[in-house]
């Protein structure tokens, strides 16, 4: 029986470079069109609600993932929400340190069951806590494109009085 050869010297190691020359252009879909256009045109958040499952999806879906019903009940949610989870990123996508740390949060907008992820910007020195109330800061209407980035970030609001 033959034996496998071993590579014993580093200069015997070879590499061949290459790439996948593709980029992606995603449609946002039927539900996505409605959600993002509402953000763009009116600065409002829409969720879609399944009354059988008692669940309001944000971002909204065309269908209920739990029972497969077509969702036709579109409801306004937010604009305020509470911070459910929080993290501060110090390193970027390329593994290099960020000039400024960036804070991201999972936010439960009032009336929604699904959580939205976005950036948080708090005034210097203000520590953000779980459960804090936040509200969106939109770009001016003319600068909005129908993207989740039409929201610049969320910022803390004073707690609502009961």
């Amino acid at each position: 029986m033959g034996s496998l050869e071993h590579i014993e010297r580093v200069d015997q190691l070879g590499q061949w470079p290459g790439e996948m020359p593709v980029s992606f252009l995603y449609t946002v879909g039927v539900a996505g069109e409605r959600f993002l256009r509402e953000l763009m045109e009116n600065g409002r958040f829409l969720g879609s609600r399944c009354s059988d499952c008692r669940y309001t999806y944000l971002p909204p879906r065309l269908y209920c993932e739990r029972c497969f019903a077509e969702l036709t009940d579109w409801v306004e949610v937010g604009p305020r929400g509470t911070v459910e989870a929080l993290t501060v990123a110090h390193v970027g996508l390329d593994g290099q340190p960020l000039a400024e740390p960036q804070t991201f949060a999972l936010i439960r907008l009032d009336g929604a069951d699904g959580l939205l992820i976005h950036r948080i910007s708090a005034p210097a020195g203000q520590e953000l806590e779980l459960g804090a109330t936040v509200e969106p800061v939109f770009h001016p209407r003319a600068a909005r494109k129908g993207s989740i980035l039409d929201i610049q970030h969320f910022k803390p609001t004073p707690a609502r009085r009961r």
């Binding site: 029986m1 033959g2 034996s3 496998l4 050869e5 590579i7 015997q12 190691l13 070879g14 590499q15 061949w16 470079p17 290459g18 790439e19 996948m20 593709v22 980029s23 992606f24 252009l25 995603y26 449609t27 946002v28 039927v30 996505g32 069109e33 993002l36 256009r37 129908g146 993207s147």
Partner: protein
Amino acid sequence: MVGEREFPGTPLSDEDLHKGKVLTVEADPNARYAWDTGVAIGRFLAELKNGRIIGRRCHRCRRTLVPPRMFCEQCFRPTDEWVYLKDSGRVNTYSISYIRWDASRVAEPTIPAVVEIDGAHKGMGFLHLLGEVKPDDVHMGMRVKAVWKRPRERVGSIRDILYFKPY
């Protein structure tokens, strides 16, 4: 499918998608790779740089394999020895390409072919291009020989062979 009812799906035109009629998001994965050449292909490429084609032989099924591999995929055992092959062979099949990978058209057609290499097991070939021949003059089974780059231009690549020409 009882009756001819409406089927779901919303077709878009090229313009709808690319001229902003629907909302879109772009992403560039920037996927780049460096593949290890491994034991077999590492040697194969090194030999190409020397102007030679090398194969591997499996003693059990008695096939001489090209491109070489350190295992025989049919016997599922390591292969046994290196075997130098000729740089000539026969055209197993060929075609005439008028397009690039992105479907754009080329100025001059190229002639991709599978060339069975002399010295290897019957039917053992690899993909390459034919040259110094008009497409109409190529035929199946045609004898061809490699045309190599000059020694100092070779880097250890399948393109150290420029193409195969009739002979």
